[in-house]
Symmetry: C2
């Protein structure tokens, strides 16, 4: 905390998410921005209570460790589901030693959707939860499509078909001289697309389709005690980077509070109390929300 009691927050990485974090920080009554560092900037002069890591997901572990070792808490939106637990274990050790806190995978999925999935498990322990994504752009699939030879630019939309099954609508803008049928065949054979219903469509301009809207339709039917057919549903339709940036900024607050309580370590969203994400005092929030 600074002398004015505001939490000092720095942003590392200035793409869609970095810009969204900047906007969310500007509206946070209890925080101040101490600096924005582009991806390859020198970070030696960075001072902050919390650093928001808005770098590409695969670079998160390196940046997180670097900041934590300096005693600076971190928040990231690392989104490779299968690697989250291992990252948490690795960063927990570093954070504890440095007396800092790392909040990882702090976006909406992984992130707030995870918290809702965990709450629904507590409400109806037996049953099935289906998380349906979209319609919206898949970052991972878009990157995979762009990597196909002959593709100048691409957009892979995720379309929910229910029960966690998705269709991929892949729009491609071709390099001059590239053959659509060749590109299409290569794309459909790619491991990112081979397992889902995928449609490839040639368009003259990907830029003309640019839209950061996304959505979630999460459903659970389960059993509370011995009572079946308890039905739950969470839906959202959102601007993807704006929500991710806002969740990261809210988590900076939780990181600072955990430091104050000397609960150093690494945490995912399901390990945080919702109250710890909110500005303002405990009494006002409990009276307003409980």
């Amino acid at each position: 905390m600074t002398t004015n009691n505001k939490l000092k927050v720095a942003i590392i990485g200035y793409g869609n998410i970095g810009k969204a974090c900047e906007e969310a920080l500007a509206t946070a009554p209890d925080m101040e921005l101490t600096g924005i560092y582009h991806h390859n900037d020198n970070l030696d002069n960075l001072t902050a209570d919390v650093a928001l890591l808005c770098v590409p997901t695969r670079e998160v572990p390196v940046y997180a460790e670097k900041m934590l070792r300096r005693g600076i808490s971190t928040v990231d939106s690392f989104d490779i589901h299968g690697q989250i637990f291992d990252l948490r274990q690795k960063l927990a050790a570093v954070a504890k030693e440095a007396k800092a806190v790392s909040i990882i995978s702090a976006g909406w999925d992984p992130g707030t959707d995870s918290a809702i999935r965990a709450l629904l498990m507590a409400m109806a322990p037996k049953g099935l939860t289906y998380t349906n994504f979209g319609p919206g752009r898949s970052m991972g699939h878009t990157v995979a499509a762009k990597a196909i030879a002959g593709v100048k630019n691409a957009l892979s939309m995720t379309i929910p078909l229910g029960t966690g099954i998705h269709r991929r609508m892949v729009y491609v803008e071709l390099e001059e001289g590239a053959q659509f049928e060749t590109v299409k065949k290569a794309l459909l054979a790619d491991d990112y697309f081979a397992h889902d219903e995928t449609h490839v469509i040639e368009v003259p301009s990907i830029d003309a389709l640019n839209n950061v809207a996304h959505g979630v339709h999460l459903v659970r039917s389960g059993v509370s005690g011995t009572t079946h057919n308890q039905r739950f549903e969470f839906n959202m339709e959102i601007n993807n980077p704006a929500l991710t940036g806002q969740v990261m900024v809210s988590c900076a607050r939780a990181a600072a509070r955990l430091c104050t309580e000397q609960r150093y370590g690494a945490y995912t969203l399901i390990e945080l109390s919702p109250l710890s994400l909110l500005p303002g005092d405990e009494e006002t929030n409990i009276r307003a929300l409980v």
Copy 2:
């Protein structure tokens, strides 16, 4: 914890909620029931790590204090919204002194709905949340209707009209000789009903209408950072006591974990991490849910 490592849990009060807690406990892999105590039973021999308080809401404070003083943690579903913060403050002091934990207002509203409202505030800090209840039976309004002279039995249904506005459909079974118009007039003048659109309907049998189904339609449109029109929705259609009992049992687990961490005191649902409500180990749950 007992020697078999299971959490020892007692139930105090054996109405709808007490029975639902018994069912939820029987399905919890990590707990064992040490006793069920009816409302006016002698509690001197009660032994447990956690007592689930299933007594009428107004009696919760007395039972909670009594148990906490003996070092027994408590979970209740106290539901008088305006008094929750004061109860938390009062029980926190007792719990800290006795090295115990009290989790209060652990149902679905107040309770899990509160956690979702708080999460949505963290995701889109500016905006409006509307919690719409029903269709389902309001316990408070039903009790108020039963207290009207000439009413033998009653059922007050809450019907959601959107934006947090509700209609009351009040079904009454009359005492012999009672005049419907007199009863209706008295009921509509009662403070419980005077402020909402209320319809009173005479029926031959309330028992024939008995159904513990309830529902929630919670909506928020808000602003993440500087991005407006972020839309969120949570819906559920549930058996009311079954969900309440399940949430209380899940919270017994959180109480025990807070005790292990020596974080004694009183907590509402928005102060608990979703993970702390779930059985099983951290790694399995994080891998499955995040």
